[in-house]
Symmetry: C2
């Protein structure tokens, strides 16, 4: 049994979905009469949904939250067929497993968003464990998703590294005592990710794959 794990975020990290999420949110806020710039929504993708709505609307959130959530789900369902893995994503998961670490998917996304994404990723045989947003008390940037993952795996934070694409991934990992390596494919800049505390930033999964054995993940590899 491997005694280390790499905890992968999905949206924006393994699959090119952050812009689809941003558009789904944009449409949902407009449906509720809220002309929120898409950029403001994009930079909050990766937060839990309730928190995102609260963060954007402040006191108005309470009245509109349920409507916006339902509308977002409908819009994302319509877009999710466009969710595709980044080049190198599957190969990265395979390479991590080949080096003797567990591959864990750890996401704020709930089961309904997740199902088509896992289909699109097509990596069922490469994944040891999945922790989704429905299983945890509070989504990223709270640490719960990583804490639940470590509990399931019975591994301490020193035996795990997270891979994500947003400052919410970095915050959640840091709060759970785990280091976080990032990719830029979610649309967050290298500067912002490093400023948030990322251990290293790679262009994309293909670049992380190429540099894997010199990366902050490599101390966790058994072979």
């Amino acid at each position: 049994m491997p005694n280390s794990a790499i905890l992968f975020d999905i949206d924006g990290t393994l699959l090119d979905t952050n812009y689809l999420h941003a558009l789904a949110w944009r449409r949902a806020f407009l449906d509720a009469g809220q002309n929120v710039p898409t950029a403001e929504l994009h930079r909050r993708v990766g937060m839990g949904s309730d928190l995102l709505i609260q963060d954007v609307l402040g006191p108005r959130a309470e009245r509109l939250s349920e409507q916006i959530s339902a509308s977002r789900q409908r819009h994302f369902d319509a877009l999710s067929a466009e969710a595709l893995p980044f080049d190198g994503a599957r190969e990265l998961l395979a390479a991590v497993r080949a080096r003797g670490a567990l591959v864990v998917l750890a996401t704020s996304a709930g089961q309904r968003d997740l199902a088509p994404l896992l289909d699109a990723l097509g990596a069922a045989g490469l994944v040891d464990e999945v922790v989704n947003g429905d299983e945890v008390g509070a989504a990223k940037p709270r640490p719960d998703v990583f804490l639940v993952a470590m509990q399931k795996l019975n591994l301490g934070p020193e035996r795990c590294v997270a891979v994500g694409d947003t400052i919410w991934d970095v915050a959640a990992a840091t709060r759970s005592g785990i280091g976080c390596v990032c990719v830029r494919t979610g649309g967050t800049t290298r500067h912002e990710l490093l400023e948030a505390g990322a251990l290293a930033v790679y262009d994309d999964t293909a670049a992380l794959l190429t540099g894997l054995d010199g990366s902050p993940l490599s101390p966790l590899f058994a072979r």
Copy 2:
């Protein structure tokens, strides 16, 4: 006749379109078999189309450029009904005119993309001049669009300030001798815009409107 002008970019500055452009590009590249991360396309929105394709694909661009351009046009046409002005955009144009400066729209976009955007902006009575991508030799980040605007207006660069949202706007303005004020609503960060040389960065058109009389635009106002 006013002897100063504010040269406004449209996409991402006055209208919430950069994410629609990014998605149209994403779909067009996929149609051509190129799985380019949406984030890579997003950060190039605001460049001229030919340059964008060249910058993304390198030597493969020549073979695929025509197909991708045609495909992008089709996808953007389907999305352009979702293009809406940011809150405060029209009011900002009106406030600039009320202060005695000309309002000029200066964009890399060609006439076909521009027509529905101008309709959505609904600011025909607030605009003194429009320079679009079809009129100039080379799109942003080349300075041509601003050089043509200054020629049309018979004004020197010291009598103009640009307002944009991308590093391509800042580069084009700088190369034509014009200062550039930016908004963050295109999805480019304050850090990147300042690093590119922006005179100041505002959250959005509403924030620039609020701070207008203390902004780098104010030395150009007659009253």
